[in-house]
């Protein structure tokens, strides 16, 4: 069964929403669980240590 994520602040169930990241002047987007009330997003460990870290490595200079 899929885990239900709830916003700790608002108590609302998070819903997938297109979310933009800005890093080193570049804007990229992906779908992330997002609180429909306050807009806070949830970045899970796999995404943070995987694709997001890889993206940082590509965008950063030496």
């Amino acid at each position: 069964m899929e885990r239900k994520l709830v916003c700790a602040r608002c108590g609302k169930t998070l819903e997938n929403k297109e979310t933009y990241f800005a890093y080193f002047g570049h804007q990229l987007h992906t779908d992330l669980p997002c609180c429909p009330q306050c807009g806070q997003v949830y970045v899970d460990k796999e995404l943070a240590e995987g694709k997001m870290r890889n993206t940082e490595a590509e965008l950063e200079d030496k």
Binding site: F24, L28, H29, T30, T55
Partner: protein, 437 residues
Amino acid sequence: MPYLKDHVIGKTRSICPICGRQLPAQRVRRGEDILLEKSCPEHGDFSTVIWRGRLNINSWTCGNEPLGDDYNPNCPYDCGLCRHHISDTCCVLYEVTRRCNLHCSFCFAEGGAGEDISIDKIKRDICDIVRPGQTFLQLSGGEPTVRDDLPEIVAYAKAQGCKFLQLNSNGLRLAEDEQFVRQLAEAGLSFVFLQFDGTRDDIYRKLRGRELLEIKKQAIDNCGKHHIGVTLVPTLVPGVNTNDIGNIVRFGISRVPYVRGVHFQPVSYFGRYPAPPANEDRYTLSELVADLGQQTNGMVNITNIAPSHCDHPLCGFHSSFIAMEDGRFIALTKPDSEGCCCGVTTAEQNREYIGRRWSRPDESEIPAAVPSEAGEPDDLDEFLRQAKTRAFTVTAMAFQDAYNLDIERIRRCSLHVYADGKFMPFCAHYLTLGGGQ
């Protein structure tokens, strides 16, 4: 040689290009040019242009530690690396042969005939060189591909734990012998530094004695088919190919993902060259930066070029891009507003950075293509896929010769040649005295 005091912008040490003795030297501004000037009590005065134009040399080199009194009075003749040397080894260059199948007007390695180095000696040397999981080894020559056992050498270096393996080649055999390219790929070759002086055959006739453009294209295709990254390496000679710089960059981009970048090398006068150089025969790093901007219509320009962090800033620069499938050319390198190089990069950071960009990624590292609607370039997955597969670098290295040799630069060198059991800075190893041959 008399100077106005405020014309001297820096002091360093150099050598007499005739007898080789170490001399005090000064960087002197004359109009928009910066010259390295020195006097030998026996052979007279020498004044060599090292920088031209409006790009500010002080901004470019800011934060770089001047030589001061911390130098070896016997540099560069005491080499191996001594306690005065600052930079660690980033890349090791190793000659596997002195034979060559071209006879170029310009060559840092003089080339020649005669008995080849034995495979046993090469294996012993590789054991000395390789630090497992770290070493970035350039197999050079002569022309390494004249050796039929080159795939065995590559496989041996990989087995010893070499992390990145680069082949420096003129591409002749890579074009003619696809089976050989396949063997090199299977042995673990990471990428090829392909001598590529321009997009016109008159350039090759002048510099290499014959037309080579179609051969270069075939070499790129063969390497591409076998998943070996190719970086184009033009030697830039004033009046020959400095007006082709923009075309070379565009040609490289048109061959992405096979081509991973362009590495420009302004001509230097060591090894074999036609005659002692006048200042008109020199092309400086600052001119290259300006011409890149002009000839690429600003695609590659001072706002996305950073001076070398790992070596001395007067030794080179780097600039990193993604050549997106939709035609956009996204700049990743963003030096600060002054083009400053104050950040210091370790040899290890530099090695990882260039090794990763010059290699083509393993299939397993590439995220799957994203279905059309989500597959726009700003989508995180799509961006990552293109960043891995379509990375493109524009880099440069300005080698030194006996005329413009600067000991401050030598001691910051991270490209080391292994020979006779020692590691030496590249320009110290290939230094030629007495006016060339």
